[in-house]
Symmetry: C2
Subunit: 160 residues, 2 copies
C-alpha cells in the first residue's frame, strides 16, 4: 500500500485497530476464503491469484495477529494448514456486513445469484441492523463514539 502510513495500533478507535490487523483488501479476502473452507496455501493462491510472496506475507501477519493458526496437514505432514482461530471466526460478522452492503449497492438488478444462508438450516441470513442495548432501533449512521463509564475518558472531551 502506498501513502504515509500512520501507525494506528495505539488509537483508541476500534475501527483503526481492526484495520491495523485486517485492513487491506487481500487480507479480508483470505479470511473470506477460509470461511469457504480453504485451508491450504495453494488453495488460497489459486482462489485469489496472488503472488506467492505476497500471500505468504499476508498469511504470516494473520498468524502473528492470531487470526489464523497453523497445523500440520494430515494429508501432507510436511505442509501446513491455515485454520481460523476463534478470533478469526468472529470476523464473520464483518464479512456479512460487507456482503450485505455489496449486495445492496454493487450489483445490477437481477444480477446477484447468491445469498448468505445458515450453514445448518440453509435459511437466509437476516439483514444486520443496529439497535441499542435496550432494544431501540438505530439507523446505519445513527451512532457516535462516547466515553465508556468507569474509564478516564469520562473526563475527557477529545474523542478517538
Amino acid at each position: 500500500m502506498k501513502g504515509k502510513r500512520t501507525d494506528l495500533g495505539d488509537s483508541q478507535c476500534g475501527i483503526a485497530r481492526s484495520l491495523q490487523v485486517v485492513g487491506d483488501w487481500w487480507t479480508l479476502l483470505i479470511v473470506r476464503d477460509a470461511f469457504k473452507g480453504k485451508v491450504r496455501f495453494g488453495e488460497f493462491q489459486k482462489s485469489l491469484g496472488l503472488a506467492k510472496n505476497i500471500l505468504s506475507t499476508r498469511l504470516k501477519k494473520l498468524v502473528d495477529q492470531g487470526v489464523f493458526r497453523i497445523e500440520a496437514d494430515p494429508d501432507a505432514p510436511a505442509s501446513h494448514r491455515y485454520l481460523l482461530t476463534p478470533k478469526g471466526e468472529k470476523l464473520g460478522i464483518t464479512l456479512v456486513a460487507l456482503w450485505q452492503w455489496g449486495e445492496e449497492h454493487c450489483f445490477a438488478p437481477g444480477e446477484l445469484a447468491y445469498q448468505l444462508v445458515d450453514q445448518s438450516s440453509a435459511e437466509p441470513i437476516a439483514r444486520l441492523h443496529l439497535e441499542t442495548t435496550g432494544g431501540k432501533s438505530v439507523e446505519a449512521h445513527g451512532f457516535r463514539v462516547g466515553p465508556r463509564p468507569g474509564t478516564r475518558a469520562g473526563a475527557q472531551s477529545r474523542l478517538p
Copy 2:
C-alpha cells in the same frame, strides 16, 4: 497496494464487490471520519496524516463510486465539502462490525475508554449478531453462500 491485483468487480461475491469500493485501509478510515462529522479535505488530511495526492485519489474514487457526494462549502464557496450519500451511510453497519471486533480483540483489558452509542439517546449500541430471517441465532462463522431462489445459480454447483 502491491500484488497482482485480480479485478473482482464482476465477482458474484458481495464481499469482493464491496472491497472493490472500500477495500483499502485508508478508504474506510476516510468514511469513518465522515461519520465523525468531518467534511473538508483539510479535516480528513489532518485526521489521517495522508499525503494530499493520496487523499485526493481516494476521495475521488469514493465520489465516483457514489459513497460521497460533493457540494460547495457554504463557508468557502470556492471549496468543496464531502458528504456521505445514503449508500455511504449504509457503511455504518460495517464500521460498527469492525469497531466491535477491534473492541473485543485489539485492546488490553481496561485499555478501551470509549464505546459506540446511539446519537440521540446516548444508549450503548448492542453487539451485532447473526440470525436467520426466521429469527434463529447463527454463530459468527455459521453462514455459507447458497443459491438465491429464482436465479440461474439454483442450477449451478460452483459458488462465488
